[in-house]
């Protein structure tokens, strides 16, 4: 009979860290949506203050993109959907 190891080692499936990593929602710069519209959408969908929404909008405008949410995959997907409903260019990916 084999002796049970003191510490059980989980098989390395390579999936645990992938599923545990949070998802980030990115909004990308585009030439169509106006700055004030983007600020309003950020405030409506995420409840950001005027200052925070403006700061994120400026990041989108000047840096090309901004992270607006960090959540589970399901919730991130819902954020992306709501942003798409409002015509913003939003994508999601797992955080590095």
């Amino acid at each position: 009979m084999a002796t049970a190891p003191d510490v059980l080692e989980r098989p390395d499936t390579g999936t645990e860290t992938t599923t545990d990593r949070p998802w980030i929602v990115l909004v990308w710069n585009d030439p169509i949506n106006t700055m004030s519209y983007v600020v309003l959408v950020f405030r409506k969908l995420f409840g950001f203050s005027m200052e925070k929404a403006t700061e994120l909008m400026m990041d989108v405008h000047e840096k090309g993109r901004a992270v607006v949410a960090n959540d589970t995959r399901e919730k991130a997907e819902m954020h992306v959907f709501r942003l798409h409903e409002h015509g913003l260019w939003a994508t999601m990916q797992q955080d590095d």
Partner: protein
Amino acid sequence: MPRRSNQLFTKTHKGTYRCEVPDGFLDVVAHVAVQYRQELTKGVESLMDPGHRRLHPTAYHDDPQRDAEYHSLMGDELLASRLHALDETEATLRSDSLTLAQLTSWMLTVNGIRLLLGTRLDVTEEDGFEGPPDADEATIEGFKLYWALGEFLEHIVAVQLDN
């Protein structure tokens, strides 16, 4: 807060929004709204149309399989949402008072029309009121409509940000 002289929308003490949009401009919105509905309801043809790419935005830009799943699950819901906003916009276009939900529908519809028009015109951040310097007459007219809708949208946004 003093009322801006050129304000098209004003929030009332009841929480509704009074509209003072010139009839001529509402005629323009009504006309482009009909065209917008035709574009939205093109079905599969819409997916193949590069001018519609902003109507079917990528959700997973680094994962085509998940992106396809997202579109198969959410694509119809996104279209239904746009059509609902359009229905509500058309139904209330001649109203002189709107609820926040109705004003939001106007906003989503006008923005959707701008997305479609701006994509077709290949708008850039450098483009002026009449588009690129070598634009033909039809393109210039397209840009004028695009900017007019943008100005109208700014009024809808401003009245919400002011409160």
